[in-house]
């Protein structure tokens, strides 16, 4: 019906239509160019960026934690090892209702209130996305039970891990130390040392003792696996792998059985014992009693147990051998005697007449000998055998504090021994300079008198005294005390620790002979430690000592029975044997043990008997040395 109209406008309409079509075409072309530019921008200009993005999407670097090195004694007895076990772990970040979850989990496995407390403490220490153990050492049955129900508990995992185990527990707690979970302080320290990347994936780090001091050797080198993951984070395949390198096994200079003998010899006493091979500085026994179970600390200790340990009057956490500082008492006398001979203050034969006390010239104050009434005529030999105080009061005064300080320093008093364990303290060898700096007071002649018998300001650690004894035993030739005999890297081979001679005091052999023979007489009838060498088949040299815990007033008499147990005197005994060719030197401290000859000397004797004769005082349980897994 409108055909004629169409005919009329046909050409014009076609023209307009085609114009619009061409415009549309232009629009299409412009849009296509935009797309092309966009593709060019993404795929050429920014390709590197997106390529990296795609790789970081898909490639995860997963650390492979190396196996920690074992700690063995000098004979290969295992003192710290790894075993694999299962832990029940919770990722706090994925759990909304922690209490509810724990309550549910307790229905499957036993979770004690202690476990919960320990776990809660862990939570406060490190707020991360990683999982935290709530129960360790799950049985196979418990693992099966949790695994079957795992879908109910998002954020809960059963993990197979290597655990640290210390077969000697409290016998070596202060020596071996323990590992614990890495906390924020550790992380800061690792960052500072620039080794944080080596700890990716590691849960534990050495906290005390050998575990801490040799952390670098024990930890090993973390390996890495590059894995391709999908969007869900599941590993699809391994792209590359750098194997981890296990930590070195450490062989200690220590003899585990000797340590055990020593610990047991203490019985119920608290105290410390350090035994050193004087010919090379190897530490043979390193005891601090009481110890504690280092296993408590591995996955974090609960507050209750911590308080119990920390507040105990027996201070089990205190490493007495390394950090305990006590007056050396009469154990200083052999060294004083050598000093007197060195400076010519006393000749060997010069004898004093001991009335039972000493008075400074121009003073009425009496410095009492331990024996009322005195010992009569006392020469140097006798002064050591009977431990005559009066003799040393006079010797110290005549020698003078400066000479005394100078000579005793040579034996390492007042300085750290440099033992390869962190946390050593230096003790105190007093001098006028020290006193004026410390107390802004002048040095009184009386200070010298009490310093002469190892009281007053003098403080030594058991380690220091053992070191000084070793130097004396080895005729003045000092070897660096050390705990590691050999490092055995995972790759094979062994690095022995070469004995390091520190110095040679070049002591006059005649002087040495006198002092050493006097010390030998100490352990014989008539000496202060007469019981020490009773029935011994080798020669023992020693010296007793007493460290006062409370000061006794002038004119009063110390009576052990009247003093409460913790205020009783500490007993010292230093010794070396065989006296003619010493192979072991030691210092024994028995806290509140009273007299050294009675309590400390028998301990030393048991240790020497075992070391020199292989004599075991009582049957020892055999410790089976499970070896840790050292593959990779």
């Amino acid at each position: 019906m409108n055909r004629y109209v169409e005919l009329k406008n046909h050409q014009r309409e076609i023209y307009y239509f085609r114009l619009r079509l061409v415009l549309s075409l232009g629009f299409v072309v412009v849009m296509l160019v935009i797309l092309l530019l966009r593709f060019f921008y993404l795929q050429v200009i920014r390709h590197d960026y997106f390529h990296t993005m795609a790789d970081s999407n898909r490639i995860y670097v997963v650390p492979i934690v190396p196996n920690r090195g074992l700690i063995l004694d000098r004979n290969g007895v295992v003192m710290a090892q790894n075993y694999s076990g299962y832990t029940l772990e919770i990722a706090p970040g994925k759990v909304a209702d922690m209490d509810g979850l724990i309550a549910e989990l307790s229905k499957l496995v036993e979770i004690t209130p202690k476990d919960i407390k320990r776990f809660q403490k862990l939570l406060t220490e490190r707020q991360t996305l990683e999982t935290m153990p709530i129960r360790s050492q799950l049985s196979d049955e418990e693992v099966a039970r949790v695994s079957a129900q795992q879908y109910r508990f998002p954020g809960v995992e059963v993990k197979a891990r290597l655990f640290r185990e210390y077969p000697f527990t409290d016998m070596t707690s202060h020596l071996i130390g323990y590992v614990g979970r890495i906390n924020q302080n550790d992380i800061d320290q690792l960052d500072e040392d620039d080794v944080a990347s080596n700890y990716l994936g590691s849960d534990y780090i050495g906290k005390t003792g050998i575990e801490q001091s040799y952390e670098k050797d024990l930890h090993g080198k973390t390996g890495f696996e590059q894995v391709e993951v999908d969007a869900g984070g599941r590993a699809v395949r391994v792209l590359s792998r750098t194997a981890p390198q296990s930590g070195s096994n450490l062989m200690l200079t220590l003899d585990a059985k000797l340590q055990e003998v020593a610990v047991k010899a203490f019985g119920e006493y608290r105290g410390a014992l350090v035994a050193i091979d004087p010919t090379n500085g190897e530490v043979l026994a390193f005891v601090s009693k009481p110890g504690y179970d280092p296993g408590l600390f591995i996955d974090g200790i609960d507050t209750e147990t911590w308080d119990e340990l920390n507040n105990s009057p027996d201070t089990p956490l205190n490493n007495r051998a390394l950090r305990g500082q006590y007056p050396p008492g009469s154990t200083i006398k052999p060294f004083m005697a050598l000093a007197g001979l060195f400076y010519g203050t006393r000749s060997p034969t010069h004898a004093i007449s001991d009335p039972g006390y000493y008075m400074l010239p121009g003073s009425r104050h009496q410095y009492r000998d331990w024996k009322a009434g005195g010992h009569g005529a006392v020469d140097m030999f006798k002064s050591i055998v009977i431990s005559c105080d009066t003799y040393y009061y006079g010797l110290a005064t005549e020698m003078g504090i400066d000479n005394m300080h100078s000579y005793l320093s040579r034996f390492g008093f007042g300085q750290k021994t440099g033992l390869d364990m962190e946390g050593e303290v230096s003790g105190l060898l007093p001098s006028p300079e020290w006193k004026s700096k410390r107390y802004q007071q002048i040095w009184y002649p009386g200070d010298t008198v009490s310093a002469g018998i190892g009281q007053g300001y003098n403080l030594v650690t058991p380690l220091q005294l053992a070191y000084a004894t070793a130097i004396l035993a080895n005729d003045g030739v000092a070897f660096q005390p050390h705990l590691i005999r050999e490092k055995r890297p995972a790759g094979g081979g062994a690095v022995m620790t070469e004995p390091k001679q520190m110095f040679d005091l070049k002591i006059d052999p005649e002087n040495l002979k006198l002092v050493k023979s006097a010390m030998e007489a100490v352990t014989k009838p008539g000496g202060t430690a007469a019981v020490a060498s009773y029935g011994a088949t080798y020669r023992i040299a020693g010296k007793t000592g007493t460290a006062q815990v409370i000061a006794i007033k002038q004119g009063e008499k110390y009576d052990a029975k009247k003093v409460s147990e913790y205020n009783r005197d500490h007993a010292w005994f230093i010794a070396f044997a065989p006296a003619d060719k010493p192979r072991i030197a030691m210092a024994v401290l028995v806290e509140n043990g009273g007299h050294g000859g009675t309590t400390a000397a028998p301990i030393a004797r048991k240790v020497m008997d075992y070391y020199l004769l292989g004599k075991i005082p009582q049957p020892l349980p055999v410790v089976t040395g499970k070896t840790g897994d050292q593959s990779d």
């Binding site: 593709f39 960026y49 997106f50």
Partner: protein
């Protein structure tokens, strides 16, 4: 009738050039889907089924007398509108926060798909009817015919389909000679009303637009699609990572990789070179569409062919633009390649109409 005659008869109304290009798309679709679905042959076979159905539908429409289509325009449109309204009743099926489907007992259908062809068909028919005496009023009525279904679909909400139908209708208006004054005026009005439109958008739509501006601000949430798509495209580089080697694709980082984001798979595995080839294929089909449009003999066929061609281009542009991060993620599949029967069917019906128009031009000539 021997085989040759049968073939001649079968191909009588089929444009061989267009058919060859569409066959190319079908091949690309199957090959790419195999990779995108991680070697899932069932998926590929299902798509092959979709392709067979769609090509058959195309053949039927291409062989249908053209006036059937014109006559059907109005009833189909009315039916489509009724169905769109029914979606809003309890008969509508809600899924993922959008009500786009209709439960008709035996199956669920998506009425908006029907409207993709019904709207331009209706408008072209309407313009053809009043061709002789086109007045401003006609454009106004045509605009209403367009905006009613677009509004209903946008409300479902289905922004992608609404945009595509809006575009297909706009192309009809544009090709029908809508005056520049009105177009510019409405564009200004639209710009002025943008704030109101913004407030009418659904939250998720707003988020998608905001994410376009800075997808990284919610990398694991709303921006995830865009970012992963861009990473896939960008990491493909010039040569691509190779067939079946796309890491974004095969490690599940790409979302919706068999459907809306399949272009990212192509881009990652075949790179810029692949993109140029694929764009070339699209340009070829669109070019053929332009030629058919230019040669179309009647007002109706011209509008229809132009709209189908331009809409097809729009489809491709919106999808690639969204995958490469220059357009918001609105949920438009890559035409003729993404997995899915409905979209394939609608598109091939359109190409059937295009072929039909091409044949009709021939008939007029002879």
């Amino acid at each position: 009738m021997n085989a040759r005659q049968l073939k001649q008869r079968m191909m009588m109304n089929i444009d061989p050039v267009l058919l060859a290009a569409l066959g190319g798309f079908a091949l690309v679709s199957l090959v790419l889907l195999y990779s995108a679905s991680d070697g899932n042959l069932m998926r590929v076979l299902a798509q092959l089924g979709n392709i067979v159905v769609a090509f058959t539908a195309m053949w039927i429409v291409a062989n249908m007398p053209l006036h059937y289509l014109m006559r059907a325009a109005f009833p189909i449109y009315v039916l489509g509108m009724i169905l769109l309204l029914l979606v809003m009743t309890p008969l509508g099926v809600n899924s993922h926060g959008a009500t786009r489907w209709l439960n008709i007992g035996v199956a669920t259908i998506q009425p908006s798909e029907l409207m993709k062809l019904a709207v331009p068909l209706m408008m072209a028919w309407y313009f053809e009817k009043d061709e002789a005496t086109l007045k401003l009023r006609n454009y106004f009525v045509a605009a209403i015919l367009l905006l009613l279904p677009v509004a209903l679909i946008a409300k479902q909400p289905d922004l992608g389909t609404a945009i595509l139908i809006g575009a297909s209708g706009f192309y009809v208006l544009f090709l029908a000679g809508l005056s520049w004054r009105i177009m510019i005026g409405s564009a200004l009005a639209a710009a002025a009303s943008a704030p109101f439109l913004w407030s009418a958008l659904h939250d998720y739509q707003r988020h998608r637009i905001l994410m376009l501006l800075d997808p990284s601000q919610d990398a694991l949430g709303k921006g995830y699609h865009t970012i992963q798509g861009m990473i896939a495209v960008g990491s493909g580089g010039i040569l691509g990572k190779g067939y079946l080697n796309g890491t974004q694709t095969h490690l599940d980082f790409l979302p919706e990789r068999t459907t809306d984001f399949i272009f990212a798979v192509w881009s990652e595995e075949f790179g810029l070179i692949g993109n140029l080839l694929l764009l070339g294929l699209y340009v070829f089909v669109i070019g053929r569409g332009f030629i058919i449009t230019a040669n179309a003999s009647t007002y109706f066929t011209r509008l229809m062919a132009g709209s189908i061609t331009l809409t097809f281009f729009t489809y491709a542009f919106v999808n690639m633009g969204m995958v490469s991060g220059i357009l918001p993620v609105v949920g438009v599949p890559l035409p003729l390649i993404s997995y899915g029967g409905t979209s394939m069917l609608t598109l091939m019906l359109g190409f059937g109409i295009l072929m039909n128009i091409q044949t009709n031009k021939k008939l007029v000539k002879t």
